[in-house]
Subunit: 274 residues, 2 copies
């Protein structure tokens, strides 16, 4: 039963044992990421919790905070809706639940809301719109980094193929600083299905590639622009490139290497600031 | 004594015991990063080794390769100068030397060459030049990421203050994909000393800040441009900003957050492509 926590002025539920069923969604977080999360995701840390509470795309199920951190993040917790339970535990209990030390002492569980059909979503976007697509991106740091940039530059949506990793994986959310919770995303069956969708919705698909025909800095941004990114090594497949307008970022001498998240930041900045 | 390795056509030294003094520089790599490396650094992986062998700033002291990888990277090893020993060991011996599993089986030790005085170096740069400066960057991922971008966009030098981390830390080199080995860098006593040096050498110091007066996309790049970066949270100190031309990258709505390495990529791209 929730009790008033006088120091912060709102109700909390004290968790005294790691096997308390109310915090079942926080048990062995690391393993859970691997075996499936049934539409749930874990938000970690104060900054990401602030984004989670502000965004409207996904649902917040509960918040779980280290007792000692409670007074320090009271300003944030006041934004937790009254219907969302706020669990509090000691360091010992919290770490035993999560399965490893939660240094920052701030966790939350959210539940993904499906965003409907990508085709309908794209069709309903304004005449001037910006989408990011990615193909074969299995690295959580890169996917998180791209979502951080997509959120910072106001992309309307992300489309990803079936071989890219889940943007709501814990580490991807953390690296995105919550950006993965702010940008609607849709998963399509293949890179070609993704290009079909974008083309049908009137998007000009700009595929970034070291072999690209156009130079990014000289590109006049199309009104409906979709930026397509592949993995750092092999890049986008040739048959996908053949269907897109290919764009390159010229580099210096023999050092021909940019991180794919950095590349997305450079390209998004160009597209929104011209 | 080196023996010819018939399968690859050049001489190698087989290491049969982890305590062989010839591989002493590879012992307990992780701990050594923390306690000081006496001007040496560790390059890991095939891509970084290729950069190390190509660059001319620093010296290569030795190369240490897993026996099974030898045939696969023979094309690379042919570029190892005859004066540089090439050590080869089994998985068991290599891991015992390094103190942890070297998955990719490719290591090298280099020795930093000092680049002389920063003032003289800056003065000798051509009339059109580009320098990156950073203040308080203690995160190896970010420092590595910035060096990767500095190398990709042909920056002439990096200046760092005394609170920033060593670019030749193992992880920074790895994240930079070798960029940290290609761009000359100089460490100065403080952020102000750094701004003094740049100003004296005729550089326009562009400090990136969310509160910057100029917008990056509208900025006409100065002929001698120095890009100054601070940490993601607090940013550059006010008294440093007051001495610079401040530049911002406008972002969308309330999501005001770009990674500092991504920011460097966006700004460098703008400076070299206008």
């Amino acid at each position: 039963m929730p009790v008033a926590y006088s120091a912060v002025g709102f109700e909390v539920c004290h968790i005294d044992r790691p096997d308390d069923p109310r915090v079942e969604a926080y048990v062995s977080i690391r393993e859970r990421d691997l075996v499936g999360r049934e539409g749930r995701f874990i938000a970690e840390g104060e900054t990401v919790l602030a984004v989670l509470l502000r965004q409207k795309l996904h649902a917040v199920e509960s918040v779980f905070v280290l007792d000692k951190r409670l007074p320090h993040i009271a300003h944030l917790l006041q934004d937790v809706p009254a219907t969302v339970p706020l669990y509090v535990a000691s360091r010992e209990v919290m770490d035993a639940v999560a399965g490893f030390p939660i240094h920052r002492g701030v966790l939350a569980v959210g539940r993904r809301r499906e965003q409907g059909e990508a085709a309908a979503f794209l069709a309903a976007l304004p005449e001037r719109a910006l989408v990011v697509g990615f193909v074969g991106l299995a690295n959580h740091d890169n996917v998180g980094g791209i979502f951080r940039n997509a959120a910072a530059f106001g992309a309307d949506a992300v489309l990803l193929d079936d071989t890219s990793c889940d943007p709501l994986y814990r580490k991807a959310i953390r690296v995105s600083v919550g950006g993965a919770l702010c940008v609607p995303f849709f998963r399509e069956a293949s890179a070609h299905a993704l290009v079909d969708l974008l083309t049908d919705a009137g998007f000009s698909v700009l595929a970034l590639s070291p072999r690209g025909m156009d130079t990014l800095s000289a590109l006049e941004p199309p009104r409906r622009a979709a930026l397509l990114l592949g993995t750092e090594g092999p890049g986008l497949p040739d048959d996908v490139l053949a269907r897109c307008r290919t764009v390159s970022i010229p580099m210096h001498g023999t050092f021909d290497s940019l991180n794919v998240a950095t590349t997305s930041g450079i390209a998004l900045h160009h597209l929104v600031s011209r």
